[in-house]
Amino acid sequence: MINNIGSGNTIIKSKLISRRMFILSTAKAIVFFGIFGRLVSLQINEATKYKTLSDKNRFREWKIAPQRGLIKDYFDQEIASNKKVFQLHITPENSPDLEKLFFRLKTILNLTDKRIAFLKRKITKQKPWEPIIVSDNLTWSEFSRINLFLHELQGVEPIVSVARVYPNNSSSAHIVGYVSEVSAKDLEKKEYLRDMAVTGISVGKTGLEHKLDKSIIGKVGFQRYEVNAFGKRIKQIQIDKGKAGTDYRTTIDLEVQKFTTGLLEDKAAAVCVMDIYNGDIVSMVSSPNYDPNAFVHGVKKDYWKELIGNDLKPLNNKVISGLYPPGSTLKTIVALSALENDVWNPKRYLNCNGVTELYGEKFHCWKKKGHGNVNMRTAIQRSCDVYFYEVARLLGVDRLSETAKKFGLGKTVLDGFIEERSGVVPNTSWKKKFIGKNWYLGETLHSGIGQGYYQSTPLQLCLMTAQLANGGFELKPRLLVNEEKNNLREFIKYKNDNPNDPLPLDMLVSNFNLKPLFRNQENINFVKDAMYAATNEAGGTSYRSRLLDKKFMFAGKTGSSQIKRFTAEQRELEVKQKDLNYKDRDHALFVAFAPVKDPQYAISVVVEHGGTGSSAAAPLAKKIIKKVLERHELRRSYQFSLGKEI
């Protein structure tokens, strides 16, 4: 039967097959056309999108933390520099088993469980190819141990990186500040940090490191790698090393800084030395200090506890954030204010018998027996309180506050130092506003000797003295060397060259762009002369600390700011400061300028609970002044050697 299939059936069959095949062929054409359309859509219409996605696949960027700029002292010695450090990074996605890896690392590096838990939490928060730092400052032996076991530590990368180091440890810690890991708070406050999220970048927390952070931090670089599907780097495509931060030269003299630091050891004290012509801060020491290097890689708990627990407050930069009543050092300003306002004749004598009375309240002189007959010059020289009670009473607190503010008290004087405090220059409206009470005359008397509400930083006192010493011209204290023309020096030079040429005030202002703080410069000179007497004439409060050599001779004013009022009993017993509890002792203050002839520098010294200014502060100032003046020529010539006009 099979063999006898008729040709008719074959033809029917063929027709049927062909008809059905035609349907199939049409379907095929449609499907292939669909595939063609899909190719058009993917490879032509959406090619750009997919190219981008492909590049996203291919390339991965790793940011490189830039090197921080250097901070140097005036003589180009590095105060803050960078050093090589050995670090250990983990790239989570490269590790097949993180648990095992941490277990291994724990034994190799002695990691604590706490640290490991912290790292694990961190890993979950970031992208799997972003490295985390397990340890940012390995010792050489740890580093070599890691390298030894590297073959079994997949995902681990030993890295040689650069980190901040403060080569002179602590002497300039407060000025330079320190850097540490970026915190959430930093990111919130410093906008420029947000696109700098680089593993291992550190940010300035205090001092200059904080102030200059934006420019000293540098520009983040990146490495672009082609990576495979497993995140393995295949080849480097592009590298941008970023840019190291700007280097800064400060006005600080490291030599003086170290010297002063040595002098202040074991004391809670602050010293500020300033160039009276350009406001350069030559030295700024707060004691005790701390080791800024301890913060770079995260401060150890013990050390932190020690710093926080220390009563002498080592973390505090006392020069700009320590507030002390200026005490008798303010008498210079009181005298000046009285003279400028024509309320007092400096030749006027007053008899001091140790106490004066106002509305039944007794106001004591520090000298129980009294100073006898004193005029303004001797009153400053011997620091007679009674005399200045009377001056202040006539002057009034408001006029005094005006002069004090002019000379730099009661406001912050540096730019961008978060830790700087403004202090207080009280007056009637201030009291009304901040305390909500009316002013009492008795408080005026206290203000006249720099007590009561008066609060100032050592920097402000130094600035005050510098502005007196330079003849009463406004200064802008600074920590960074500024090569701009110094008008004040030019003016002094002009004046020395033309001694007989009278210079009216407005000409000073227009020709030299100076801002005089006085009405009559004679008044400034009077105060300077009185300060000279206080140090260099017998009976002066700092007479015992004087320097005889003309080259070093200085003029200064002592001060003691009372912490606790003396009781009548103590006064009767003539209790000495050193017999009191440490906490109850007066702060010892001293401000000075030097050399007497042709002054160059102003200094302020505050020794917390040091007792009297003449016994605790002035002797320190004497040594520092000598050191600074010894280096004066060097400082001047260093500038010249760089070929720069002053």
């Binding site: 099979i2 063999n3 299939i5 059936n9 074959t10 029917i12 069959k13 063929s14 049927l16 097959i17 062909s18 059905r20 095949m21 199939l24 062929s25 095929k28 499907v31 292939f32 669909g34 595939i35 063609f36 899909r38 190719l39 058009v40 993917l42 490879q43 032509i44 959406e46 090619a47 999108k49 997919y50 190219k51 996605l53 492909s54 590049d55 696949n57 291919r58 082609e226 990576v227 495979n228 599907a229 497993f230 295949i234």
Partner: protein, 374 residues
Amino acid sequence: MFQPRSIQSSMSFREKVYSLDYTLVFSILILGLISMFAMYSTDGGEFKYHTKSHMLRFGVFFTMFFVVSFFQIRFWYKISTLFYLSIFLLLLAVKYFGLTSSGSQRWLNLYFMNLQPSELMKVALILFLAKYYHRITTADVNRIKHLFLPIVALIAPVLLVVTQPDLGTSILIAIGGVVVAWLAGVRVKFFTYASILFISLMPIAISFLKPYQKARILTFLNPDRDPLGAGYQIIQSKIAIGSGGLFGKGFLNGSQSYLDYLPEKHTDFIFTLFSEEFGFFGSVTILLIYSLIIYRIVQIGNITRSSFGKLYCYSFATAFFVYVAVNMGMVLGLLPIVGAPLPIMSYGGSSMMAMMIGLGIVMSCKVYKDVPVN
């Protein structure tokens, strides 16, 4: 019983060579050469294992293609039942002695090669059904008793393959069988019934699916569902093809495949790799070559006198088309990833062998186009 030898059956070798369809031959050859370049690229631009092995296979099976074409079409007609049964036995053998790789048991170790009988079943089923429908009259085709055998012949191997598990190949086998039945004239209503039955059995079938197979289907419906898991292949393949653009990234410059973003770039995703490196023009060229091959096969079907030849050529052309369409649809993100190689291009000996045998039989139809099979 023996028919007298016809003129064509006594053709000289030279005549046989002349009567080959050279468009088809060269299309296959060009495709083979292109696939070698693609393979060279998957080896990272080095003459390594995959390239060598692919070249050898192409050489061997291309030769086999000619050998197959020179056998009389009558021989293939006669042998088709035996061929089908042998492959079916091999499939059974796989069930018991097969090699297991990445979770599925598909291969038989023949020492000189690992044979995947399911690939050969693609051709064997078409051949078997073509013969079956050749032998019965058009009127008989739709009789229930004549529907029985084709259904069994189709379902049995499909079940064996699907339980390997190899969903992709089993679907392709089934499609081949269905196409023959369709061409033979099985009524539309039977296909409708079958479809309804199939759909109603789907839930049950799905419950038998492996979790990864379920995931693939879900992923196809929404590739972004699990971009790093099952959707990864589709997404990366689309990125590779799309990023090729008009002219491609250049030979050996396909970053997606070089950097291992492309899964199975030797086999199922060979078109992706080629597309990435040669762009839209490259892809369209491949598409055109396949179209040409399919067109030529259909043409051969047209000129073949016997129903067997016609049924076989048309069915094989359609099946070939389906393989291409499924593979391309898959890598272009139009179909779920089911694991279907691209004929001739993809790396894989069994697939290449099956295609070459299939094409050889087509060519045999051409050479002996006027010879009745029985």
